[in-house]
Amino acid sequence: MMAIIFCLGSEKKNIIRMVMAVGALAILGTAVYVTLDFLAQREAGDAADFLFRQDIVWYQSLNINYSVGVDGISVAMLLLSSVIVLTGVFASWGMEIQTKEYFLWFLMLAIGVFGFFISIDLFTMFLFYEVALIPMYLLIGLWGTGRKEYSAMKLTLMLMGGSAFLMVGIFGIYYFSSADGQLTFNIVEIAKNHAMPVDKQLIFFPLTFVGFGVLGAMFPFHTWSPDGHASAPTAVSMLHAGVLMKLGGYGCFRIAMNLMPEAADQLSWIFIILTGTSVVYGAFSACVQNDLKYINAYSSVSHCGLVLFALLMMNKTAMTGAILQMVSHGLMTALFFALIGMIYGRTHTRDIREMGGMMKIMPVLGVCYVIAGLASLGLPGLSGFVAEMTIFVGSFEHTDLFHRFFVIMGCTSIVITAVYILRVVGKVLFGPVQDKHHESLTDAVWHEKIAAFGLIIAIAGIGLAPLWLSDMISNSSIIMHFMK
Amino acid sequence: MNVPVEFYLVLSTLLFFIGVYGFIVRKNLIGILMSIELILNAVNINFVVFNRFLFPEKLEGYMYGLFVIIVAAAETAVAIAIIINVYRNMKNIDVDSIKELKN
């Protein structure tokens, strides 16, 4: 696992895109290797919660360790991240201004993300979390478009606000979770001890959940997302919506719910209301937006809402669905943003009212966009369907009216999603060409094709053969106390 | 030689707060500087008086007072250099109007 980070670290010296591409490919290779190795070890009967463990004492007196390790969920997230980093590199091939600094920060973001997913020490995790957040400010503020300073500031402030909650939450866990007086940051130990008093949990669970929820674009803390995505450069949008927002879901799952199961159980209703609202609300909002990126950002709010929603259902199926949805949404939203970036790079507008007939002008991008749209609205054979169905089936475990109501409300989102996706597809891709200048535009070039096809292959791969991934994920939720 | 120590202290206290009053109320930089001199002198009186009444054989306060005078002289010199500079730049030495360094 360290290899990934070292690999990234050594990369920093190099500035040429080619090296970035090779490096990103190496990351993907490593991630695939880790996956295969992980599956092999599981196959071989290694039933430890986390494999590839590595512990280095970092700060003795507070018992902070650099401890990393992966279970099936982290492996899934690593795969997702590496695919998106790779395609992100190709998508930002045309980045001309301060290329070196751009990729440097891009890598910084990637380091934070990878580190977050493999950490099993709360403090280390938080550290990587912050490492992942900070570059966003610069990446948006410097390389963004539109109202970039405002967006960058808003995004950073809101996420930092979230991490303030989070830090309190983490310290709360640290101080109140010990079984034998020995304070620890280690997630596995805390989960095993399961010694946190419920009254303390009730205080720190909401803090932690909201802290991560901000990043997971939970209603009403989602407003950074549309502005941020709209202003960010393509690859940053990809990585941000594709991976960074998943940090929120992953954190909610790994820390908030896993470590404070009783509170999660007692307070889930509040968050179910919020996330359930998120799902429908985001979808409705997306219906009337005119900026492609805003549409997609609101769609992300809706889909990420579904992730948290499923987590709160607290059973294995829904949980697996949530992780699947993270992976699936990561891939398809990255694809969306990549394509939007490519289209914007040509038309210099993202306003759907000014576009039309793109399918004729740039068939490859058009088809890719349709595929992304279909994945987003949950077409079988693409990843979105797998995730959503797992979530709905899992969520249906609760028989009471409250849960049923919200699950069915969630189901309506698949219709609304279809509405806004088809609206965009119909306006932008189909119909007559709106702007005569657009007729001379070109189709995707090779590096754009690599980015788009890479993501489509991943989406279709998961969509067609989801079993291995879903098994890998569901087998990992062994130590979850909250599973009913 | 029997002026009670309280007399001196009352005097220095009053002088000190006269200086404080001047420091706060003055607008003119030189005026402020003069108030500072008053404050310093009030303090100096204390040093010397305490030295005289408590440890006449040691000369500690005495020396301290001496150094204060020296430092005050230096301080005044630098302050005046700055004031003149400020005046050259802004044609004004009112504290309220000097806001260039702010923001």
């Binding site: - | 030689m1 029997n2 002026v3 120590v5 309280e6 007399f7 001196y8 009352v10 005097l11 206290t13 009053l14 002088l15 000190f16 707060f17 006269i18 200086g19 404080v20 009053y21 001047g22 706060i24 109320v25 607008k27 003119n28 030189i30 005026g31 500087l33 003069m34 001199e37 008053l38 010397v48 008086v49 005289r52 009444f53 408590l54 006449p56 054989e57 040691k58 000369l59 500690e60 005495y62 020396m63 001496l66 150094f67 005078i69 020296i70 430092v71 005050a72 002289a73 230096a74 301080e75 005044t76 010199a77 630098v78 005046i80 250099a81 003149i84 500079n85 005046y87 050259r88 730049n89």
Partner: protein, 183 residues
């Protein structure tokens, strides 16, 4: 009357005269609207303080006070005033509010200090009177130049370096801008 006679020693009378000069001129120097007058009043205050030192039989420090303060600083101030202001120009009027606020600070400080002071109950050290012997220059010289305990070579040197630094600093501050002016 006994009270009066007890206090009406020559020393005390001189002290009261000096104290009156200090306070009155001190007060005038912070309240007068004419800055040049303020400097003059300050000169009187400093002068009277020198008298106070003499009363305490510390002639050397009185001399320093006279030469450095009265002779140096006040002259410097006057020069500064003459450089920056037209002679006799009035300082701007200070608002009543500001005066009041400042007075509150000053008076409350005075009150708290005096209350503390009188509450302390000093016992006048009569023996101090007996050691009235002047501090002679030799002692002062030794104290300034010695390196023993209660001797102050180091501060002395520090002060000299400090003064040098101040001179240089003043010059730099003053000349820097001239260059800029030329530009």
């Amino acid at each position: 009357m006994e009270f009066l006679t007890a206090y009406l020693t020559a020393n005390n009378i001189i002290f009261f005269i000096l104290a009156a000069i200090i306070l009155v001129f001190g007060f005038l120097s912070v309240t007068t609207t004419k800055i040049l007058r303020a400097a003059t009043y300050l000169f009187f205050v400093l002068f009277a303080i020198a008298g106070l030192y003499l009363l305490l039989t510390y002639e050397f420090i009185a001399a320093v006070q006279l030469s450095v303060y009265a002779g140096g600083i006040v002259v410097l101030l006057v020069f500064a005033i003459l450089l920056v202001k037209n002679l006799g120009e009035e300082t701007e009027k200070v608002s009543c509010q500001k005066k009041l606020v400042s007075a509150i600070a000053a008076i409350s400080g005075v009150v708290i200090s005096l209350v503390t002071l009188f509450g302390f109950g000093f016992q006048n050290n009569e023996s101090a009177d007996e050691l009235t012997a002047n501090v002679n220059m030799e002692t002062i010289g030794h104290t300034l130049m010695g390196v023993e305990k209660y001797q102050y070579l180091l501060p002395f040197e520090a002060a000299s370096v400090f003064l040098l630094a101040c001179i240089i600093g003043s010059v730099v501050v003053a000349t820097n801008l001239k260059k800029e002016d030329k530009k």
